[in-house]
Symmetry: C2
Subunit: 367 residues, 2 copies
């Protein structure tokens, strides 16, 4: 990747670019920063009219994910329009199961659907082991293009769903209210469930490794559905596999820089110590977790990312600013905090409200 | 209530009845019991064919709630059919907002609906203060009838929704995915939100006080939606009002017996100490909370109720039995555990699977 190495060197020779790029990466590693970095989960999303326009042009969500130029375009929109301090690859967690051989549909307004879900060991055996540079080449091309287009303005985050979270969709066949089908599998047929999780884990490790090689400067593992499990089942069926991934992902990128790993378990506030024990650099916190209490519990082993309730952005901008300042205060002055929402930004949030959040977070220190 | 006093005295003269009735109430107060009591949240529900038959006869869910003879019939079904150790009044948490003047509809297969939700201080001001023996007379009549029909076999639990949980339905107009409307209210107009919660709290206190007078021998406060809040918002908008209720409910019933108060906050595992501080006798735990860790955190101030994942009941009976035994072991041999699910039993659970849970829980000690 001559372009990227060139860019990284360019960065090192340009103190302004370096500072901007380093804000997020330094905070991930709990190093001192001049101000706290901020980004928003799902920041390239439907709340932005520009995103909706690009998506309409792409002719659907999956086309948008699979066209590197368009994925790059929507990835960069929040950087240009909102001024966030990090870019996150535009993609979907379910491209992995699709690359493993499962037919995936996104029906307009209905969410993801796997018409042939995994139900037993025979279904698991039919899954393939994708080569990320083949079946997921469009993701890697998007990452390379985004890095080039970003040109060092802000760092680029890659991501994956956790094996457990991916498995919920693969087994349920889509979203779920009670997750009764996959829970029935883990309770009644844990051997098949573990076999599935192992296969997905191997694919995720290959996928994140390729993302780092293609230019991802940090990676986030989204465990959206870990929080629906009991403590023992969370450890056995979700955390165990997250830990394998954290341990296996390259610690250093092609430019020689540390690649921080962020683990976000929605609803994982009871298991903070366990999550920190995976060896991740950053823990994403949802808004139900008290930041002061979180720091007391895990010490300074990890940085935190989060954690404002995305619904605060429904309030008027002055309330958003006040709540953002209160959140920053709760995380304290320690290095190692990346301001963010506690879950993805919702599609009907006014753009001005999102800006109020970003600006309040960036204004705090030195403001 | 001459009937009830008669029954209570009859109980005291009949050692077998006394023991059965006392299992649940003694465990609530952390007193020694010969075996652990067990019941299931939503045990009078759709998984039972007999319930579905009575509901069909009633001509709808609200009619069933409002006809004391039929509410009594379905309350007793799980006692007779499943052998649970406590009865819980069959009703719905939303009868309170309806008694406060809000039109309530249950559309078949769609859940509850308030066509004129609360949106501001003017809407709150229009609410009335119901007299439980007038507007909610059907509940009190049901309680009196159930006590009579139970005849001391097992104790009778009354219940309410927490003010916060009731308010979510009153403001959203029904169930919700993101609770954006009520969250907008608490963030942008906290004064109106608190006014609403105060009004609901007063109605709940009057309602539970009347339930105890009518024969409820324990009361449970369901905070189904407390877990969607941040820690600070949970304390301010939910726990604060739960505490007022716990403090105000009569500690002793008309028969001179202690009336334990159970507080169940779904998703409240991060706030166990705060919940115990309300002064409740029993804390309901959902399945995400580790029982051993919960006991370590709150000490022996309270009894615990719960906490098996309701989805375990999708597994084969032998797995249910094994998981139930593991749960009992995790709660340990201390007195002060009422076996239960961590949330309501799901409508499509086979009856034999529910029985496997009840039987495994009852077989544990002395089995």
């Amino acid at each position: 990747m001559p372009d990227e190495r060139g860019r990284a060197r360019g960065c090192a020779n340009n103190s302004e670019n370096m500072t901007t790029e380093h804000l997020f990466l330094r905070a991930c590693l709990r190093q001192a920063v001049p101000r706290r970095p901020v980004w928003m989960m799902r920041q390239a999303g439907r709340y932005l009219p520009e995103y909706r326009a690009t998506r309409a042009r792409a002719g659907g969500f999956l086309n948008l994910c699979k066209t590197p130029e368009l994925a790059c375009e929507v990835t960069l929109q929040p950087i240009d329009l909102m001024g966030v301090d990090a870019a996150i690859l535009f993609s979907d967690i379910l491209v992995i199961p699709e690359a493993m051989g499962m037919e995936l549909q996104f029906l307009e307004g209905e969410g993801p659907h796997f018409p042939n879900p995994i139900r037993n060991a025979a279904d698991v055996a039919k899954l393939t082991d994708p080569d990320p540079e083949v079946e997921l080449r469009y993701v890697m091309d998007a990452l390379r293009l985004i890095r080039k287009e970003l040109n060092g303005r802000v760092p680029l985050i890659g991501f994956t769903g956790s094996p457990w979270t991916l498995a919920t969709y693969m087994v349920e066949g889509g979203g779920s209210k009670n997750f009764s089908t996959i829970k029935k599998m883990i309770y009644a047929d844990p051997v098949s469930a573990h076999k599935l999780l192992e296969r997905v884990t191997e694919s995720v490790i290959a996928y994140l490794t390729a993302q780092v090689a293609a230019g991802a400067q940090a990676v986030q593992i989204f465990d959206t559905w870990g929080g629906i499990l009991s403590t023992l089942d969370f450890r056995a069926f979700s955390l165990n596999y997250i830990k394998r991934i954290v341990q296996a992902v390259p610690k250093v990128g092609p430019d020689g820089q540390r690649v921080p790993v962020i683990v976000f378990v929605k609803g994982g506030g009871q298991w903070l110590e366990d999550i920190a024990d995976t060896g991740c650099d950053v823990m994403g916190l949802d808004w139900t977790t008290d930041p002061t209490e979180a720091r007391r519990r895990v010490g300074d082993r990890v940085a935190f990312q989060g954690n404002m309730d995305p619904c605060v952005l429904y309030a008027p901008p002055e309330v958003i600013a006040q709540r953002t300042r209160a959140m920053l205060t709760a995380f304290g002055d320690d290095p190692g905090h990346i301001a963010n929402l506690g879950h993805g930004i919702l599609p009907d949030i006014p753009v001005e409200h999102a800006k109020a959040f970003i600006q309040a977070a960036q204004a705090e220190i030195g403001g």
